[in-house]
């Protein structure tokens, strides 16, 4: 049953890494793998989000459904999500999804007593589990040098006398079910471009032609050296595969001035997290999920058996 292996050995190189952002190179693999990872990061890595809201009092200007929806969209810290159960296959609570293995309870009580409007924010949500709390962005804001006294994510504003009291249940879920469970803000990848200028042909251009050719690129990929008047590739990754410089070269009668190809097996990934999971963890979780998915699509033993019988029958029919 053992055939030759056609396995690949991918390589990675990290460029930038912050809690909510990662940029890395992925080499020696193919687009299908890059795209599968991207798709899994967006839609299949689990997080925790508010899924059920019981409103006790709501005299705010927003209706109950509107507030419930806004609560659902608040990112919650979800390091626990990978080891948590989905409430639909939790047998500890018979599927009502309110036990400690598959849910986290939140309470919110707010009433405005003053003439100033009261901002009700994600900071007013009290969690039953200290590991699952609304994402706090003040640390990353401080790191970026912004002097913000962050008040969390605003849910509703209350006027004098208005009140909001509710109980919310947060559950584990995936982005495929509802986008509120997606841990990724954006995940993108691009082919790594390889750009080669035909230097001989370039030298046939006048300075003016060079300038106008360099400026024909919508993004700053090329630069004209002010001293040597040489055209240099300063940022190949700024190239958006727009073909503008190629068209420009053709229009100037200098086809083949530049050769731009995409390296088929090298990708540059950018991953932005919502804050529910660290970007680095998000990538690792995506690999685990993809492995689980592959495991699930393996053939079961009874399919193999059924085919063996069929195979014998087939051999008989073929006169074997």
């Amino acid at each position: 049953m053992e055939g030759a292996s056609y396995q690949r050995f991918p390589k990675v190189k990290i460029r930038e890494l912050r809690d909510d952002y990662a940029k890395f190179e992925l080499h020696d693999t193919d687009v299908s793998m890059a795209n599968a990872l991207r798709r899994v990061m967006i839609a299949e890595v689990p997080t925790i989000a508010i899924d059920l809201v019981e409103i006790e009092v709501n005299s705010s200007v927003l209706n109950d459904e509107f507030i419930a929806h806004r609560l659902g969209l608040i990112p919650l810290t979800s390091e626990r999500a990978m080891s948590m159960r989905f409430s639909r296959d939790c047998d500890a609570c018979d599927g009502d999804g309110q036990c400690e293995f598959c849910s986290v309870e939140f309470h919110l009580r707010a009433k405005c007593h003053s003439d100033q409007t009261l901002d009700v924010s994600s900071k007013d949500l009290y969690s039953s589990d200290h590991t699952v709390v609304p994402v706090d962005f003040s640390d990353s804001a401080a790191a970026a040098g912004e002097a913000l006294d962050t008040k969390g994510i605003i849910i509703v504003k209350l006027r004098r006398g208005q009140e909001l009291r509710l109980r919310a249940i947060a559950r584990k879920g995936i982005g495929k079910d509802h986008a509120k469970w997606s841990p990724a803000a954006t995940v993108t990848f691009m082919y790594e471009p390889s750009i080669h200028i035909n230097e001989d042909l370039m030298e046939t251009l006048t300075l003016e032609e060079k300038t106008s050719w360099v400026e024909s690129s919508p993004t700053k990929v090329f630069e004209l050296d002010p001293v040597t008047h040489q055209v240099l590739v300063v940022d190949p990754e700024a190239y958006t595969y727009d073909d503008e410089v190629i068209k420009k070269a053709e229009a100037m009668g200098k086809a083949g001035l530049v050769d731009i190809t995409a390296k088929e097996d090298s990708f540059i990934f950018t991953v932005e997290s919502t804050g529910a999971i660290k970007a680095s963890q998000l990538i690792l979780n995506a690999i685990d999920i993809l492995k689980q998915k592959l495991d699930a699509v393996r053939l079961s033993d009874d399919t193999v058996e059924a085919d063996d019988q069929f195979g014998e029958l087939g051999a008989h029919m073929r006169g074997g």
């Binding site: 049953m1 055939g3 030759a4 292996s5 056609y6 396995q7 690949r8 050995f9 991918p10 390589k11 990675v12 190189k13 990290i14 890494l17 890395f24 693999t29 193919d30 687009v31 299908s32 793998m33 795209n35 599968a36 798709r39 899994v40 299949e44 639909r88 995936i174 495929k176 079910d177 509802h178 680095s280 990538i283 690792l284 690999i287 685990d288 993809l290 492995k291 998915k293 592959l294 495991d295 699930a296 699509v297 393996r298 053939l299 079961s300 399919t303 193999v304 059924a306 085919d307 069929f310 087939g314």
Partner: protein, 116 residues
């Protein structure tokens, strides 16, 4: 009100098989694998991995309908292999590739955070 449950797109219904196998009646060493509740994520990586196999003469997948959450993977192989063998091989290779990728990433992350 009259909406199918959202989980229907990723939970295999009770009694249904995740993967079923249908041998082609006319072509030798050809078969279709019907994979329930999967999409382009799995379909495309399996197809591309099968294309790397020298014994595979034909490999393709399709998502017949966006609201029928299943894919079909069709494989034809040379006589020294079989669609089932090629399919298993593709999954094993992808699994090993992901192991390598995970190992590489974990190393790269720890090296990066230490130098940072």
């Amino acid at each position: 009100m009259n909406v199918p449950d959202r989980y229907e797109r990723f939970v295999v219904p009770e009694g249904a098989k995740k993967v079923s196998y249908e041998r082609d009646t006319k072509i030798m060493n050809a078969a279709t694998f019907i994979v329930e509740r999967e999409d382009h994520t799995i379909g495309n990586i399996i197809r591309m991995q099968l294309h790397r196999d020298d014994n595979v003469l034909f490999a393709a997948y399709q998502l017949p309908h966006p609201l029928k959450y299943r894919i079909l993977v069709r494989i034809q192989t040379a006589s020294q292999s079989s669609p089932m063998q090629a399919y298993n091989q593709a999954i094993n290779d992808l699994d090993k590739e992901l192991d390598v990728l995970k190992y590489e990433l974990e190393g790269a992350f720890s090296r990066f955070s230490r130098s940072y």
